[in-house]
Symmetry: C2
Subunit: 150 residues, 2 copies
Amino acid sequence: MVKNNFSHLCCPVARSMDVVGEAWSMLVLRNLMLAGGTGRFDQMVEELGISRNILTERLKRLETEEIVSKQPVQEGGRRMEYKLTAKGWELMPIMIGFAQWFDRWRPDPERSPLTFLDRRDNQPIQPLRVLSHDGRPLGPADILPVSDDQ
Amino acid sequence: MVKNNFSHLCCPVARSMDVVGEAWSMLVLRNLMLAGGTGRFDQMVEELGISRNILTERLKRLETEEIVSKQPVQEGGRRMEYKLTAKGWELMPIMIGFAQWFDRWRPDPERSPLTFLDRRDNQPIQPLRVLSHDGRPLGPADILPVSDDQ
DNA sequence: TGCTTTAGTTGTTTTTTGCAACTAATATTG
DNA sequence: CAATATTAGTTGCAAAAAACAACTAAAGCA
């Protein structure tokens, strides 16, 4: 069995799955995002309940994809921390999208949702939406996917 | 080994991963979305290159989560097709988010990106962004995640 | 009726995961 | 500064999941 890889599908969604299409990868990123962008190995093991060998592997992958970087906690020290890169931070809308989606269809209404506030005024953010170039909200039926090549 | 499940993490992102946190699930959804919302078993096997047993399992899961429904192609017939539900369609922003994210950081610029057009005027849609209640684009540093319970 | 298509199921092999124990280097504390 | 604790992994093993191929049964079609 060859390691699961979707390069036969040229679609960028498939290619994204190659990189972050595994639950633990997304959860590592979630953890970093909610922690302000940095995290330590053992802290992630504890908070996520992920196996150490799996975390090791996922972090390596995320590092080679330049989604996180590994650097000393303090200048010159040798204790490391993992830090989201700009590329990693740009997955935040997707993370928020998952949170909002789940909460919209949440099966257990006892638990209250995870909300996201604008730090400036403490107002909740808008639900993630697809917008036309001039700002109209678009539904699935309004959107035409176009693959330019081939 | 117990089946991977993230219910110990109450976070809605983790709970989403329980449902669609596996690459093939997302790719099945992508395929349905790009095909207008419906698809047949064999067609998915061929287009995705997914193993039949795995597709069977993923579709069952998506069905129990009411992300897709299974129904006869024509009234009364017994040939089935899988169809995105409203809950499934609401993952489209996330799908678009993945496509845009990958294309923004695309390592192989030869292949051109997957773009999404507004059917009304054929203009490309906006990049997916997080917006404040009054419509300002927010970056990660502007957003405060708040978990209401506990 | 006979051939083809569809939508799976079953069995086997290979990979990946989860878990626990271990390690080596670095920090902390008395 | 010696002893202890913490950190960031690595290794080995058992179990689960994935890939692959072959098979099946019902439906559709000619």
